[in-house]
């Protein structure tokens, strides 16, 4: 039987929703147990939140001052040690999970399955390659632990609230490196919903034209309570910061409503949104590839259409 260790992602004392998505993937393996591992300097509040997630058997905490920031070189030896006795180690396929999980896999001497989209069997998974233009089925060696990152857009977050998993403090006796130091995290300050987990997202592309013009996207997003994203072209042009990039090399998201405004729809952008519930495209070029995958398309000048949309909303 399988026993799965899920690595919790958190920031500023709060659990990241990607963790509950990784728990969903773990549940699909139909394991005997799903344990959540919280590595932090002060894990109590995070652990309390984690304990409420449905399907979690235990929450294991490792409280060390060195764990104040998610440095892969510091976390990986602890995770590798904690992984003893588990058949699977899962982490969300976010920049956090992508950074730390391969380091854990190498310490365990095993391959990693990146971006798990579906679980076919305990050691058989589907994952995208070539920017999602092909989906492969991979079989991991059943004689070794499986280390995998979970493509968060493919999995709903496991429900939270009903669970009350026991919380246990772990002491992991392993020397930690001091060769890597955290300096700072520059976070975009925003009162808007989080791009990765929002149910509605409005994104702007090159067609928006400038940093100043992006204000029209923000304003419209605020009107409908949406998070704001952007295409790579808009980020490269300096209209918005990097953390807003949606696409293969940015964030891969699955909101209920995705509105692409002034985005032509390069393959790498479409890769990031194809799990969205409903896609709306607004573009002045009726031949833009974004219309090939949009549920609703509207051809026209965004600077004219957005005010009209706002008006129609009342």
């Amino acid at each position: 039987m399988s026993k799965i260790l899920v690595i919790a992602e958190h920031l500023d004392g709060k659990l990241n929703l990607s963790t509950a998505r990784a728990v969903s993937a773990a549940a699909a393996v139909k394991p005997e147990a799903i344990d959540l591992l919280v590595l932090a300097d002060a894990p109590d509040a995070i652990a309390a939140e984690a304990a409420k997630i449905d399907g979690v058997s235990r929450v294991l905490t490792v409280a060390r001052a060195e764990n104040a920031h998610p440095l892969a070189a510091v976390l990986a030896p602890q995770i590798a040690k904690a992984a003893a006795g588990y058949s699977h180690v899962f982490a969300p396929s976010t920049t956090f999970g992508k950074d730390v999980a391969p380091r854990v896999a190498a310490l365990l001497g095993v391959a990693q399955v990146s971006d798990v989209m579906s679980v076919e069997a305990a050691h058989t998974f589907k994952r995208p390659i070539y920017a999602g233009n092909a989906i492969i089925t991979v079989e991991a060696d059943a004689n070794h632990a499986v280390v995998a990152t979970i493509r968060t857009a493919s999995w709903p977050a496991a429900a939270s609230g009903a669970g009350s998993a026991p919380i246990e403090a772990l002491t992991i006796d392993v020397a930690l490196p001091t060769h890597t130091r955290f300096i700072e995290l520059k976070q975009g300050s925003s009162d808007r919903p989080d791009l990765q987990s929002a149910s509605k997202v409005v994104s702007g592309g090159r067609g928006v034209g400038s940093k100043e013009n992006f204000e029209i996207i923000y304003k419209f997003a605020d009107k409908i309570g949406a998070a704001v994203g952007a295409s790579r072209a808009a980020v490269d042009a300096g209209y918005v910061p990097n953390e807003m990039q949606v696409g293969q090399t940015g964030k891969i998201i699955a909101p209920e409503l995705y509105m692409a405004i002034g985005i032509s729809g390069a393959i790498q952008h479409l890769t990031g949104i194809k799990d969205a519930g409903t896609i709306v495209a607004i573009n002045k070029d009726g031949e833009a590839p974004i219309f090939e995958i949009a549920d609703f398309g509207l051809v026209g000048d965004l600077f004219k259409l957005i005010p009209e949309l706002e008006q129609a909303l009342g």
Partner: protein, 248 residues
């Protein structure tokens, strides 16, 4: 200081990938191959560090079949001092690639290894992190800015929450993100110059690397397609349609 750069050849990013009808792979016959874009960025960064006087030598490393030399020549034309070609006709998985790099590191003793954050064929995003673990050295993944001074690297990383700055001792492994730099174009005289630069060939088998791959790909499929939707005529119709679906 020497800098080792991973330089993988992949299907060009402009090629429309097609899955073979029998699900045995993707079509690669007659398809244009190019350097992995993230690896071009890695090489560019290494060259800039050499131009700043931080490094003396930039070595590009490729793992692949005999005809990979023409690809490595491109890396030399871009400006690398020399190339190492680990010759194998088998595709290698990230853990194996990391083990190969570790062997080369033992021999070359680089101060820095720069790799692309992922290759755009298998999209694994693993080799740099695995190498750093096996080497027991720092890693700075998804780099958007790199500064080397006083034996330390200060790296700004593009993470989901924003920009994270970390400092690592050297040697270290850095993996590149898209905005780190814009790779230079290769000029004709550089192609001529590259012909006389050395490519050191090493048989994969001679490195004594564990080749036991743990992952087996059993099937390839085309992704599920989203069907084309409807065009609406104006803003009012769009809002009405979204309201009807309960989305607004």
């Amino acid at each position: 200081m020497k800098i080792l750069v991973g330089y993988k050849r992949v299907v060009d990013y402009n090629v429309r990938i097609q899955v073979k009808p029998d699900g045995s792979g993707v079509v690669t016959d007659g398809v244009k191959l190019s350097a992995n874009p993230f690896d071009d960025i890695a090489l560019e960064e290494a060259l800039r560090l050499r131009e700043k006087g931080v490094a003396e030598e930039v070595i590009v490393v490729g793992i692949g079949p005999a005809d990979l030399t023409s690809h490595l020549r491109n890396g030399l034309a871009m400006g690398a001092n020399r190339a190492i070609h680990v010759v194998t006709s088998e595709a290698v998985q990230p853990l194996t690639a990391a083990r190969v790099f570790l062997k080369l590191i033992e021999k070359e003793q680089p101060g820095l290894v720069i790799l692309g954050k992922q290759a755009i064929d298998d999209d694994a995003n693993q080799t740099g992190q695995m190498l750093a673990a096996l080497w027991d050295r720092p890693q700075a993944t998804f780099a958007g800015k790199v500064e080397i001074a006083d034996g330390k690297a200060t790296v700004t990383r593009e993470v989901d929450a924003g920009l994270e700055v970390i400092e690592t001792e050297l040697p270290a492994v850095i993996t590149t993100d898209l905005r780190l730099n814009e790779p230079r174009f290769i000029k004709l005289p550089d192609i001529m110059k590259a012909k006389s630069k050395p490519i050191d060939s090493i048989e994969f088998g001679s490195l004594g690397v564990d080749t036991h791959d743990h992952l087996k790909t059993t099937h390839y499929a085309a992704p599920a397609k989203r069907s084309k939707g409807v065009m609406v005529k104006d803003a009012a119709e769009l809002v009405a349609a979204l309201k009807q679906k309960g989305l607004l």
